[in-house]
């Protein structure tokens, strides 16, 4: 199972100027099916308010992939088409559903969360 330090991630994300800019006015829940577990990220007024296991089905944006795929996605230098959400959805079979308009509008903010998560996991 992917080991994610939720408290550290919240600190990193909310302290990141690029995330702060990209996430302005964002209110959403993003649910990640990680294969062997779940992770629900709650964004309130442009900040990451909470991260932890939860009910992905009620999240406004949902992404699903196997644990193996998420591990590849979170590598410092992933294999081709695991380098971002769009390529992973288009070419590696990651499932995406929910509010696609919000996902697109806040693509930069969510991408930044993954970049910081990648950085933390490969430190």
């Amino acid at each position: 199972m992917l080991a994610i330090d939720s408290e550290r991630l919240v600190r990193m994300v909310n302290g990141d100027p690029e995330f702060q800019s990209a996430a302005r006015h964002w209110n959403a829940t993003v649910g990640l099916n990680l294969g062997s577990g779940t992770l629900v990220l709650t964004f309130k007024d442009g900040a990451l308010a909470d991260v932890g296991p939860g009910d992905v089905s009620s999240a406004s944006i949902r992404m699903t992939a196997s644990e193996q795929d998420w591990r590849e996605f979170l590598k410092r230098v992933p294999k081709p088409f695991y380098q971002g959400m769009l390529p992973a959805v288009a070419r590696q079979g990651f499932a995406l559903d929910g509010d696609l308009e919000a996902w697109t509008a806040y693509y930069g903010a969510l991408s930044r969360v993954f970049t910081l998560l990648r950085r933390a996991m490969n430190a």
Partner: protein, 283 residues
């Protein structure tokens, strides 16, 4: 002492399909002319690193232009363009490129294009090979149907979001500063331009049943796809190349969809040998 780039920009007036456009272009170097076509939703600034490559400009005259509605090439003053949907067509793009070549009095230039430029490279190879001494298409494929998402021009989605998506089309190990410059350019296009450009790319361009008719005997065709280009994976470029008689295909390791700007020092390693080959042809 003031340091200048070598490239110099100017405008010319070009009439395409009865409409006059004020077209901006930058050029540098001397020798064999090379027309540089930018990708969808951006402008000729994507080529700025190549324009400063003195190993290339010693023998090649590089010309990077902004298509109308892109960069410094404003919409035409004679048209009520604001009352129409912006839409790039293959016919316009072809006439524009051939017209620009004629206006600049170029003698069978080399054509080098990426993405949108790679698609039109293959369409030019099919329909107008005689106009060019060689054609280089990067990030090309048979077609790209279905990727013209309406979210590319949506009142609730910013141009910053669009550029964030473009970031993920580049290689993870390309220099961060270069990737950020690339996304900066995407954020600067007028809102309808990306989706309008994708009309040609995603609707019109389709080499099904046509690629086999491309003849490379008189005009060599080179095709390149970046390893991390999820839009146009190398497998798609190779599949296209396999259906054409005589092109040279190569996958560019570590690079993505915008090789000339995301990682110029790696891109030149692929382009330099091709330009040397073209120079050696001497035609």
């Amino acid at each position: 002492m003031t340091r200048h780039d070598n490239a110099q920009g100017r405008y010319l007036y070009l009439t395409v399909a009865g409409v006059e456009y004020r077209v901006y272009y930058e050029e540098t170097g001397r020798g064999i002319p090379v027309l540089l076509q930018h990708t969808a939703g951006v402008d000729g600034r994507q080529w700025r690193h190549l324009l400063e490559d003195e190993e290339i400009t010693a023998n090649f005259r590089l010309i990077a232009y902004d298509l109308p509605y892109h960069g410094k090439s404003l919409p035409p003053v004679s048209e009520e363009w604001w009352a129409q949907d912006y839409r790039l067509t293959q016919s316009f793009l072809t006439d524009f490129i051939l017209g620009l070549s004629k206006a600049l009095e170029l003698d069978r230039p080399v054509f080098l294009g990426v993405s949108l430029g790679g698609y039109i490279a293959t369409d030019l190879a099919l329909h107008h090979p005689e106009a060019f001494r060689a054609i280089i298409g990067c990030e090309a494929s048979n077609d790209l149907h279905g990727l013209d998402s309406p979210f590319f021009h949506h009142p609730r989605i910013s141009d910053g979001a669009k550029s964030a998506q473009m970031y993920d089309a580049m290689g993870p190990e390309s220099p961060e500063a270069c990737k950020r410059e690339s996304t900066w350019l995407f954020a600067q296009a007028a809102p309808p331009v990306m989706l309008g450009d994708l009309y040609y790319v995603c609707v019109e361009h389709d080499l099904t049943g046509k690629a086999e008719k491309i003849r490379t005997g008189g005009t060599p065709l080179y095709l390149f796809n970046g390893e991390y280009d999820w839009v146009m994976p190398p497998s798609h470029g190779k599949e296209l190349a396999d259906r054409i008689k005589g092109p040279k295909f190569k996958m560019m390791p570590a690079l993505g969809h915008f090789p000339m700007i995301e990682n110029p020092s790696e891109f030149r390693k692929h382009i330099l040998p091709v330009l040397d080959e073209i120079k050696a042809l001497g035609t």
